[in-house]
């Protein structure tokens, strides 16, 4: 893939493979190849669409990576580091009684 920067220069960029798992879905994991500057929020929304779930006023879903919640404003580059892939889990934040 190539991207054009502000100076108009075209340069190649690598894509990063992302995988999002959500065990209580009829569908398998969400997989995509995304540019490194894609935010995790964008990946979360695409994964939720894949799994046919959505945020409501009562609860939300978050992406976790290595067990920790990942804010929506992180980029895939920040999460993946030097790796060419990043794995996430989609977690529903449950209400408490």
């Amino acid at each position: 893939m190539t991207i054009r920067n502000e100076a108009g220069t075209i340069r190649p960029t690598r894509l990063i493979s992302v995988l999002v798992s959500f065990p209580v879905s009829k569908k398998g994991p969400y997989r995509a190849q995304v540019p490194p500057d894609t935010t995790t929020g964008m990946v979360r929304q695409d994964a939720m669409e894949h799994f046919e779930v959505s945020d409501t006023s009562e609860y939300t879903y978050v992406l976790t990576h290595d067990g920790q919640d990942v804010p929506d404003d992180r980029t895939i580059r920040q999460v993946a580091g030097e790796k060419d892939s990043a794995e996430f889990r989609l977690v529903k934040i449950l209400p408490q009684g």
Partner: protein, 146 residues
């Protein structure tokens, strides 16, 4: 005693749970006396020296949520307050998890039984439960109950 369908469904799903917990430094043990009861050992990311033991007892898998109690060891007592982690919704005093993930929680909140908080029955709910417990330990844990 759980029915045969429950035991077969648990047998199908338990390997993924065991793999997940092992990756996080924990383990899964099936109870020797009751095949529908499992002991999950898990550690908070912020306190890996602390291990918590959840006894998960299924009545009808995957159709109903399990009873969840914390114990002082695998196969140990489930009446020890200090066996519980301090996490919002995890109530050591009443020894229940008041969230839509346990039989105790659904008993306290019948309104959760339908709608968005209903118990999930598709995919691998056992793995979902283990991941939810681990997520709470990793992100909302503040210590061991007094």
């Amino acid at each position: 005693m759980a029915d045969y369908e429950t035991l077969l469904n648990l047998a199908d799903d338990e390997a993924a749970v065991a793999g997940f917990l092992a990756d996080r430094g924990g383990c899964l043990v099936r109870d020797q006396a009751d095949s529908a009861t499992y002991w999950l050992a898990a550690r908070p990311a912020s306190a890996p020296q602390e291990t918590y033991y959840a006894r998960v007892t299924w009545a009808a898998y995957p159709h109903q949520p399990p009873s969840i109690k914390f114990a002082d060891a695998i196969g140990g007592s489930v009446t020890v307050t200090r066996a519980w982690p301090v996490i919002p919704g995890y109530r050591s005093a009443s020894q229940d998890i008041c969230k839509p993930m346990s039989a105790e929680g659904y008993a306290l909140h019948p309104e959760w039984r339908s709608g968005p908080d209903a118990w999930p029955t598709t995919g691998n709910p056992f793995l979902w439960l283990a991941q939810t417990l681990q997520h709470d330990l990793d992100n909302d844990y503040t210590g061991r109950a007094p």
